[in-house]
């Protein structure tokens, strides 16, 4: 080497940056770079070496129960046999997933697991998609030497209204019991007995009544758990599947929609990392029953002297257009109003928004039903679910998330259980998250702004809030209260914590999407309450109900009744006949979930694609198509000949949706965030609590997961789960009423008087009374909670008297 050949500093190549999270290991003789903290089972799978497993589930803690994932691991002390789900990778570890010892161990475990398994695969729903079946073929010994009699149990036993357990098939992997305990927080199933007789079971007389029980069926690696809505409906190889998004509520869980012979038979949760982690609530999971209900509207209806008559689409559209033309002639564009749109797709909402705003020219458009929040909350700095579930402080100013947005409840519960976040809850009634909350501040309905102000002055709370990022989950906790007190409290919070972001806890499936793409009041337009009041005053010539049922959903029942009576013409687009469509002059049948493609936007603004899996029921059509047809008849061509056209138009015209293209959604199964920056922030409304006089209980009305809504009422498996209606007070208030638990009492407010059964519930605060909203009641004693509620008042005070 000569002096000129001596490399200079410049010649030395830059050393590759060392990744501090990279761990070099050897798997089956191949050098592999794993991530620090990865379990061996994950590292091997990432490297293409699948290790069989039953108990391991990536969304739950490892327990090492099934011993299926045994591999040989050499960390320098010679090969050891280890469960790969229990040990993280360490530098220079050598892993052998299919060495003779590892294979023998895996085959041994399969043989042992099959020893007492009934092998009734031909009649088992799981057969064909069964990890035990699959892994017996891929990693099993191929034959059994077990000649003894197998374990016998009664098969199957119901462990809840929805789930059956076959203990003979169970391989005791602890997945369902771990899910119930760790993920759902409903540890209602557990191991009982021991040794060879160990079995999963419920506690005596305590069913596995969890809102999340269906997930255990999905994660069961054998056919031990089956759900009654799917049992014996189909074989896995006959199923067709499309990935979609659940629109039961606004969380937007990703699902796999499965059908056979053009009939929906099952939804499975899909693991969407930013949203649902693979979990679904039972209402969403089993809601497919309502899509296939025989009660669905199949043909358009027109009102005649003898009631509703089926008619053709041509004639129905002609009638619809005539109604609109008549209204325009009678009262001008602003005498026409549109309510609804939150149950459909973004495309449906956009098409109707164009129809209302641009074609008809009315600003009176709202996707809510006096039960939400002013659209301005969507203009606040928005948090994602991930941001909420990793925020140092989560402030709840929201309804009971377990009841209304169940999978969001799971995510926030996880944030607390994993000690990432602390929850500061403001509520007037204990909620599902109360027991996980760091602090719960109970306020009397209407006084939440004061409660927030007082709480923020607390030094401990101030320290907690100052410790990191804050996400406020804001929603309408109490339907007997106007939205004003919540907005006032939210404004206090945002004033005190300027960096806080907001996750709007609005409930209906696509309420955020519908509002953002245009179903919101235009300049000078009325909101939902304004529309109803205008209708009640007789100034609405035509009311368009887009998948909305004001008579069931508007908290103020009297206002809804007067509005529908006062509206001169009603056009309803819906999937079912309901109380409100019964009053409509034209009813147009709409295609339902999984019957149309499109996009939906969840509460984060995350826009995902919806899949069509089955043919639309009867002659029903997607809403966007109906809007286009009406617009064309009114003389304007919206230019939509396919859903793709509408999606493209949204991307072009709607503020914030420019990234939401068909291609972008196809590339991002987790969706694209679309926010609407043009929506103005909310103002502080006035809260007037008034005098209580003799109305000594302040009313809290909120929803339960199962109610009389269409998704539950038309699903035979879910309908019986609605708990029914009663008035709940604190146990200490029962004697004050002078009645006893279980007795009938009258509940009267300044607007109405109803009879309810009195119940005690310690989560209800003293001095307040709680009634679940929209519960099925017997035909004889049909009770409208809304009779007590005045949409014009900030709060509702009631008197409870024994009969």
């Amino acid at each position: 080497m000569t002096a000129t050949d001596t490399p200079t500093l410049d010649d030395v190549p830059e050393p590759a940056p060392v990744d501090p999270n990279a761990v070099s290991i050897t798997i089956n003789g191949r050098a592999v770079t794993a991530r620090k903290g990865d379990l061996i089972i994950t590292a091997a799978e990432n490297a293409g070496d699948y290790i069989p497993r039953f108990c391991y589930h990536e969304r739950m803690s490892s327990v090492g129960m099934c011993r299926m994932c045994l591999v040989e691991v050499d960390t320098g002390r010679g090969p050891q046999i280890m469960p790969s789900c229990m040990f993280p990778v360490s530098p220079d570890m050598k892993v052998y997933t299919d060495s003779p010892v590892a294979k023998a161990a895996q085959e041994g475990v399969i043989e042992l697991l099959l020893a007492n398994h009934p092998l009734d695969c031909p009649v088992c729903d799981k057969g064909g998609e069964c990890p035990l079946q699959d892994q017996s073929f891929s990693h099993g010994p191929g034959e059994s030497r077990y000649v003894e009699e197998k374990r016998h149990y009664e098969k199957p036993i119901p462990i809840s209204d929805l789930v059956f357990l076959d203990r003979e098939r169970c391989i005791l992997c602890d997945r369902c019991t771990r899910f119930a305990d760790e993920v759902a927080g409903d540890a209602l199933i557990s191991f009982t007995h021991r040794g060879n007789l160990t079995q999963v079971n419920t506690f005596p007389d305590e069913p596995f009544a969890s809102y999340f029980s269906g997930n255990t069926v999905q994660i069961c690696p054998v056919g031990a758990l089956t759900a009654s809505p799917y049992r014996f409906k189909a074989r896995p190889w006959d199923l067709q599947e499309a990935e979609s998004t659940c629109t039961t509520c606004s969380v937007g869980c990703r699902t796999a929609v499965q059908s056979t012979r053009d009939e929906l038979v099952r939804y499975q949760g899909v693991d969407s990392d930013p949203v649902n982690w693979g979990w679904l609530c039972d209402k969403g999971r089993f809601g497919f029953e309502s899509v296939g209900s025989d009660d669905r509207l199949a043909t358009p209806l027109v009102l005649t002297a003898t009631g509703h008559q089926p008619t053709s689409w041509n004639s129905a559209i002609n009638s619809t257009v005539q109604l609109i033309k008549d209204a325009l002639a009678a009262g001008g564009p602003s005498s026409i109003a549109l309510l609804g749109g939150a149950r459909g797709t973004n495309e449906d909402a956009f098409a109707f928004a164009r129809l209302a705003h641009d074609v008809i020219g009315t600003p009176n458009v709202s996707s809510q039903l006096v039960d939400g929040l002013p659209v301005g909350v969507l203009g606040l700095p928005r948090a994602t679910i991930d941001q909420a579930a990793s925020a140092k402080t989560i402030i709840l100013l929201a309804p009971d998330l377990k009841e209304e947005l169940p999978v969001l409840y799971l995510r926030l519960r996880d944030a607390v259980e994993k000690k990432r976040s602390k929850i500061l809850e403001f509520t007037s009634k204990g909620s599902g998250l109360t027991k996980y909350a760091w602090k719960t501040v109970y306020y009397e309905p209407g006084t939440q702004a004061d409660a927030v102000t007082t709480a923020l002055a607390d030094p401990a709370i101030a320290v907690q809030i100052a410790s990191g990022d804050v996400v406020v989950v804001a929603g309408r906790a109490n339907l007997a209260e106007s939205s004003a007190p919540t907005i006032a409290a939210l404004n206090v919070l945002l004033g005190a914590i300027p960096t806080a972001s907001v996750l709007p806890a609005l409930r209906r499936g696509n309420v955020v999407g519908a509002t953002q793409v245009g179903i919101r009041p235009g300049a000078g337009g009325l909101d939902s309450r304004g529309i109803l009041e205008a209708a009640a005053h007789g100034s609405i010539e035509c009311l368009i109900l887009l998948g909305s049922d004001p008579l069931s959903d508007v908290p103020d029942a009297d206002l809804a009744r007067r509005a529908l009576a006062g509206a001169r013409r009603i056009i309803a687009i819906d999937t079912f006949v309901n109380d409100s469509t019964a009053l409509a002059h034209v009813v147009l049948p709409a295609a339902g979930y999984a019957e149309k493609i499109g996009t939906t936007t969840n509460l984060e603004g995350r826009t995902t694609s919806l899949a069509q899996k089955i043919t639309a029921h009867g002659t029903s059509r997607p809403d966007w198509m109906i809007a286009g047809e009406i617009a064309r008849q009114l003389g304007t061509d919206l230019g939509f000949s396919s859903v793709a056209d509408v999606t493209a138009a949204i991307a072009t015209h709607v503020d914030g949706y420019d990234g939401v293209t068909t291609n972008a959604l196809a590339a991002a199964p987790n969706g694209v965030i679309a926010l609407a920056p043009s929506i103005d922030r909310v103002n502080t409304p006035t809260v007037d609590l008034g005098d209580r006089n003799a109305y000594d209980f302040r009313l809290v009305v909120s929803r339960k997961l199962y109610d009389a809504g269409v998704a539950v009422a038309h699903a035979p498996s879910l309908a019986p789960l609605a708990p029914g209606v009663a008035v709940f007070v604190n146990p200490l208030d029962v004697t004050r009423i002078g009645s006893s638990i279980g007795a009938e009492v009258t509940v009267s407010s300044s607007t109405g008087r109803i009879v309810l059964t009195l119940r005690a519930d310690a989560s209800v605060q003293r001095g307040s009374a709680w009634v679940p909203f929209n519960q099925p009641t017997s035909a004889a004693g049909a009770v409208k909670i809304g009779d007590l509620i005045d949409a014009g008042a900030s709060v509702t005070d009631v008197r409870i008297e024994s009969i």
């Binding site: 299926m68 003779p100 294979k103 010994p141 030497r145 021991r194 060879n196």
Partner: protein
């Protein structure tokens, strides 16, 4: 003690040939007595007797020194854990992460290994000695609270420890500012609900927390780091703690003068089975041999009825069996381990030549199959399967394939070479302890241990029990499948990849 002279408190046992009487469980003998010094008194469990016989003197000696000095003493004396693993207690106390409080002492009084009943006697006969030991341990290791977990079935022990705790509280030995010092401690008494696996320390912690008694995964749950209620926790055996008062009273030198350098002091050995005088003996650690223990006049006194020794279990029901070849081994962990078994919990079960070996193996296997907690598949399914096959053989319905199958099923619980003793008679050389296992804890392997030992050392007895098969000479029926065609053979275990 001669036949026919049973005094008050003695039991009379009649066998077919001779009647023996013995005081249940304990013989003093002419040996150093560290933990059994009060056993001869009828009222040894009372605080009065305890205080009259140097009671709480060791505690006072300990409290007179700084805590680290007491810890150093325990380390210097190499007090070995008496629960089975034989890990030095002083070292164990040092494994807690610094600065994490509270930290707990959990006393493992869930003695349930078949053949073992030394801790029961220590709790029944001298509960204050155990309490004193707990106090010394907590003082030395800086532990904030003590939990005393007593096996569910030990009613007398539960009663006497409870009484002793009350008396000690009343006398100011437990509670706030013990003996006027800054040292305060509470001792919580907990009664188990009857599960063998709870003797495993992490399962015991689960049980103590109110959960189902199932072992926790290690790592990360080494109790010293993450134990009871997620806090650093020391789990010590009853006998280990019972050694501490004597050590404090007499000092390290006096303690290490007894026994060998690696195993100082004494240890309690429980002998049961076909000996003249079954019971618990405090023997000198390390130097005493199995021959001394089984045949020594001051110990078990030899085989009963003039029978000869066939086999013995040296360390509780889960230990591989020994035969006469191993009689001269000392009761010391390493020597016994090299010879293919373990000293374990200090229980020797002796079998004479009348023993039905397959039935004896079945008895032990059935115990472990029944006590499986059900967590790991190999233990839950494999243990019961082994039991079923053994039942078939014992009932006379076994076939020669069943014997291979016992080994093959056992291999799914314990892959590879399983430890066993050497035997001159069979020309076997020993395979040293321990075994590999596919389960979390030792219950699964323990179900296989008696099967393997019995089948390795006494295969002829199994073969004699097999069903005599008569094949009907029909040409279409072939012989049963050979070992080569079964999928999980010993050959595949040894490294041959089979198709």
């Amino acid at each position: 003690m001669d036949a026919g002279t049973a005094s008050a408190g003695e039991h009379v046992v009649t066998t077919s040939a001779t009647t023996y009487s013995y005081t249940p469980g304990f013989y003093a003998g002419d040996r150093p007595r560290i933990v059994t010094s009060r056993f001869e008194y009828e009222d040894s469990h009372t605080i009065e007797r305890f205080l009259a016989t140097d009671g709480y003197v060791g505690l006072k000696a300990a409290l007179a020194k700084p805590a680290p000095a007491v810890h150093e003493d325990v380390k210097a004396a190499t007090v070995l854990g008496r629960g089975g693993a034989g890990f030095p207690a002083g070292t164990k106390w040092g494994l807690t992460p610094p600065g994490v409080f509270p930290r707990y002492l959990v006393v493992n009084g869930d003695e349930s290994e078949p053949g073992t009943y030394k801790d029961r006697l220590l709790m029944e006969r001298d509960p204050h000695q155990l309490i004193e030991g707990c106090l010394i341990a907590c003082y030395a290791a800086g532990l904030s609270q003590c939990f005393l977990y007593i096996r569910g079935e030990m009613a007398v022990a539960q009663e006497r420890v409870a009484q002793a705790l009350n008396d000690a509280y009343a006398a100011g030995y437990i509670g706030k500012n013990i003996l006027g010092t800054d040292f305060s401690l509470d001792i919580v008494l907990h009664w188990g609900a009857g599960a063998y696996v709870v003797g495993e320390e992490t399962a015991l912690i689960e049980s103590l927390e109110g959960n189902r008694g199932m072992p926790r995964l290690k790592p990360p749950y080494f109790p010293a780091a993450i134990g009871l209620y997620g806090q650093p926790t020391i789990v010590n055996n009853v006998e280990t703690l019972a050694n501490l008062p004597w050590l404090m009273r007499h000092g390290v030198e006096a303690y290490t003068a007894i026994g060998t350098a690696t195993s100082p002091g004494t240890r309690m050995m429980a002998v049961s089975g076909h000996v003249k005088r079954p019971g618990v003996f405090e023997v000198i650690n390390g130097s005493t041999t199995f021959r001394d223990l089984i045949f020594g006049e001051e110990f078990a006194g030899g085989m009963r009825d003039g029978a000869t020794l066939k086999a013995f279990v040296p360390g509780g029901g889960s230990a591989p069996w020994f035969v006469e070849d191993q009689l001269d081994l000392p009761l010391e962990g390493r020597a016994v381990g090299a010879a293919g078994s373990m000293v374990g919990s200090g229980a020797v079960m002796v079998m004479d030549d009348t023993t039905d070996i397959p039935a004896a193996a079945l008895t032990l296997t059935a115990f472990y199959a029944h006590e499986s907690c059900g967590k790991c598949a190999p233990c839950r399914e494999g243990g019961t399967w082994l039991m079923r096959i053994l039942e078939r053989i014992v009932a006379g319905h076994g076939t020669s394939r069943d014997l291979d199958q016992l080994i093959q099923v056992g291999q799914t619980i314990c892959p590879g070479n399983f430890p066993h003793a050497s035997s001159e008679r069979l020309g076997l050389t020993a395979v040293p302890f321990p075994y590999k296992m596919t389960t979390i804890c030792f219950v699964g392997p323990s179900a296989y241990t008696p099967v393997h030992s019995a089948l390795t050392l006494f295969r002829d007895e199994f073969e004699a029990r097999l069903m005599k098969r008569t094949f009907i000479p029909v040409t279409a029926v072939s012989e049963p499948a050979t070992a080569d065609s079964t999928s999980l053979t010993a050959a595949s275990m040894a490294g041959t990849v089979h198709s």
